[in-house]
């Protein structure tokens, strides 16, 4: 019996790819666990509550009145695809949080969607220019299947941390699991440390 050839792989010598990830190229896969909701921009709102000085709810028009912010970079899905050199346009979450005033007691946040999806994030991961609310992908309106009209963008973490159809963020003084975190995935999800599943270092 001939022995199998050794695995060589595509050998993508791409320094922008975290370990175990591959470049999906121009494709943009859709991964959604629940029914895709129909959210109208006319009725969409974003609520900041919990441990904040001024609980705040913004309409789409109020959100768009904030300073625009365009993000360019790479996104990484825990299912091992990465999309390199992509872009999103919206507002920095910092601009929204400045209106609400996150209290010093807040350590973690839960972002949530109209579908009932939730995901947890340490405050440090959603402040300081690391998170956005976006409504355009590569200069086109964000489609419903990709989370439109407005989704979160937390690109330094695996993409399940960037909630589609986002409707609010709640600040807490403790860490509380969101949807995928309850269902076996890592509580933080840093792609460069390959924090895919619960219990990974």
């Amino acid at each position: 019996m001939t022995r199998p050839s050794p695995f060589v792989g595509r050998r993508q010598r791409e320094p922008r790819l975290p370990p175990g990830q591959y470049d999906v190229g121009s494709d943009y896969p859709v991964l959604t666990a629940e029914a895709t909701p129909n959210v109208s921009l006319d009725t969409w709102t974003f609520t900041v509550d919990g441990l904040v000085e001024r609980p705040t709810t913004l309409t789409a028009a109020e959100l768009r009145a904030l300073p625009r912010s365009r993000w360019e970079g790479d996104i990484h899905c825990v299912t091992t695809w990465s999309k390199l050199g992509t872009s999103f346009t919206g507002v920095s979450l910092d601009s929204v949080l400045a209106l609400a005033g996150v209290a010093p007691a807040a350590t973690h946040a839960l972002s949530w969607s109209s579908s009932g999806y939730t995901t947890n994030l340490p405050v440090a991961d959603v402040t300081g220019g690391r998170a956005w609310l976006v409504w355009e992908h590569e200069d086109r309106p964000l489609t419903t299947e990709h989370g439109g009209p407005v989704r979160m963008l937390v690109p330094h973490l695996y993409f399940w941390k960037s909630a589609k159809w986002v409707a609010g963020i709640r600040f807490l003084d403790h860490d509380e699991q969101g949807f995928w975190e309850r269902n076996g995935y890592h509580h933080r999800g840093d792609p460069w440390r390959e924090q895919r599943y619960a219990g990974d270092e």
Binding site: M1, P4, F7, G20, V52, S115, R182, G199
Partner: protein, 281 residues
């Protein structure tokens, strides 16, 4: 794990309680799987390789550390090159949890893939594969609630795990909720687990007339209405219906819409999508 499963109540700065956030999955999450322990990489022996269709084979693995999985869960396979480069892919489990010590992964050979061609072309019985699992706590059927399961192509793999589990558990005299499956394939040459789809199942061919008389065509409302009615009849407020859809993104999007038109409740839906976002030729 550092995150609590359910923490203290949510409050505002004055200490007043806030309304709970919506929770996808609702009651199914009251009994979450034991997902806290790390699943470590292990070397599994390939003890059988079985051809399922023109493009798909099942790899039967003997696991040094085995844990009963939930039907619908997956394992991750890792291939490593001599220089340290590695690639990982997730594959659904086809075997039932009653098959102790083993898992079977049914894997389609994607011509332009990086991992699946290697598995199909190079891996033989007696080789070892580096794997870890089982993973997944959402797209799982515990056998306690009536279920309609709809899959396209490789999306039929977790459906078969669910059916095999139902049969094995019933064969052992255990109670299992009603389950109906609708599996869609291109044509007869691409049917997975041929001969194993029983009376609880409907097999639909999209590009070939079926022996039963159904003309070639994509999955339609008429294909799911009957099975949906049967599981809805078995559902109750205590044991509400679960609907599982697994397939490519175009298949899952279409199935989701036609299930809604057939009267399937939105909150019952569990979706697992894979592959490219654009339809494949």
């Amino acid at each position: 794990m550092s995150a609590a499963r359910s923490g203290p109540p949510h409050t505002d700065l004055s200490g007043s309680a806030l309304p709970p956030l919506p929770t996808l999955g609702g009651s199914t999450l009251r009994n979450p799987p034991e997902t806290g322990a790390a699943r470590r990489w292990m070397d599994a022996e390939v003890v059988a390789v079985r051809r399922e269709s023109a493009t798909t084979s099942t790899f039967r693995l003997a696991l040094p550390v085995w844990e009963a999985h939930l039907p619908g869960q997956h394992y991750v396979v890792r291939l490593s090159a001599a220089d340290g480069y590695r690639a990982e892919r997730s594959y659904s489990i086809a075997s039932p949890p009653e098959d102790a010590g083993h898992v079977e992964l049914t894997i389609e050979r994607l011509a332009d893939g990086e991992v699946s061609p290697y598995l199909h072309d190079e891996v033989r019985v007696g080789d070892t594969l580096t794997v870890r699992g089982p993973f997944g706590g959402w797209f799982v059927w515990r056998g306690t609630r009536p279920a309609l399961v709809v899959g396209g192509g490789s999306g039929a793999v977790p459906l078969m795990a669910m059916l095999r589990h139902a049969r094995a558990a019933r064969g052992a005299g255990r109670q299992v909720a009603e389950i109906r499956a609708v599996a869609s394939f291109r044509d007869e040459a691409h049917v997975l687990y041929a001969g194993e789809w029983g009376e609880e199942s409907t097999v639909v061919l999209s590009r070939q007339d079926s022996p039963g008389g159904r003309p070639a065509g994509r999955l339609g409302v008429a294909d799911v209405e009957g099975p949906l009615a049967q599981v809805l009849a078995a559902a109750s407020p205590e044991r509400p219906l679960e609907v599982f859809v697994c397939g490519s993104t175009p298949f899952a999007a279409a199935a989701e819409q036609l299930l809604a038109r057939a009267g399937s409740p939105t909150e019952a839906l569990h979706v697992e999508r894979f592959g490219p976002s654009a339809p494949q030729g």
